[in-house]
Chain length 204, copies 2
């Protein structure tokens, strides 16, 4: 790949990918930009423009070849570069994410969960073990983990972030409603649910 793809395009390509997966389940072979556009309530010229960014050869008179378009998106967005991650916090949200089997299709491999609750430690969520948070530094090193998905309650978020940084985690996918204070060499991705909600509802 030679071109930097913008966040908005990556977001749309992922949604096209969802549509293509559904078409494959339904044994449909071809799809048009109009069909994709209608489902997402966007302009079909936008869909064609996005798809032109891919090295996609599967275009024919009746539309795009579903399987080839799906493969092009996967190649361009790097679905196959698997990234291993730990989930920090085995509560409802952490468990929901551990059960989200789609992650694997997109190259995100959840290895294990961590918690402080003795009742949860030793149990399994979707065949992934819940470990004592004290084992984290050792297991980060052993499994060569870069990414932590943070789902602890808000009041523990900053302390836990400090512990993750000390344990050599370099990327934190932050689901807590707190802005974390971390050193420059650690990247935080804020899953800003309320920001998204306000974007949606701003015009209602």
């Amino acid at each position: 790949m030679t071109q930097k793809i913008s966040d908005k395009v990556i977001n749309r390509l992922t949604l096209y990918h969802c549509i293509l997966s559904d078409y494959i389940s339904d044994n449909v072979e071809f799809i048009s930009s109009k069909q994709i556009a209608k489902l997402l309530n966007i302009d079909d010229s936008q869909v064609r423009k996005d798809i032109n960014l891919l090295n996609n050869s599967g275009k024919c008179r009746v539309g795009y070849i579903v399987k080839e378009l799906k493969a092009s998106i996967e190649k361009t967005l790097g679905f196959k570069k698997t990234k291993n991650a730990f989930i920090i916090g085995a509560g409802n949200l952490g468990s929901a994410l551990a059960k989200y089997d789609n992650f694997t299709d997109y190259g995100l491999n959840i290895i294990a969960l961590f918690d402080i609750d003795k009742n949860k430690i030793g149990s399994e969520v979707n065949n992934k073990k819940v470990f004592d948070i004290e084992c984290l530094p050792e297991l980060v090193q052993k499994n060569n983990i870069d990414i932590a998905i943070l789902t602890v309650p808000r009041k523990y978020a900053q302390d836990m972030a400090n512990f993750l940084v000390d344990s050599n985690i370099k990327y934190i996918w932050n689901f807590t409603p707190t802005v974390l204070n971390v050193p420059q060499d650690v990247q935080v991705w804020n899953e800003n649910l309320m920001g998204n909600f306000l974007q949606f509802t701003y015009n209602i």
Copy 2:
């Protein structure tokens, strides 16, 4: 408000709001654009530009007045226009969202949850009752609900969306990894978790 604020700005303002809430908890009275910028790893000129969009009078020599800046953001983004919503699916994700008390601060009021599982129906999550999905149409009407938060398993997503549309829901916040097919007068907001993840990891 006279000006349309872009999605990116709304997203950043929500993060500033998180920071301000933490400052208030810590009894800090003033904050500078540099402090906000450092926490989010962005440029402080960007922070000042965003804040200039608000009708914020709380600026002084030592920085912004935390409480006034917070109030300005809330006013501009419409936190006080409370929106009622139902959660569809009382699994891990639905329960996690029902427990997310921050929603109320942002004007999102979760009234109840719905499920098909007889073991869940009648129980409560964070003082919100879980109802039989069959009661939905009646309760939508009775509570004047516009917004449904969809957290059911992928395979039920489209059928459930059809049911929501038939029940007169006008906005679906979609947490399932499926693109929903709905009529033109219904709006779907896709919480595209994998799209976000791929945006984050695209450059790793």
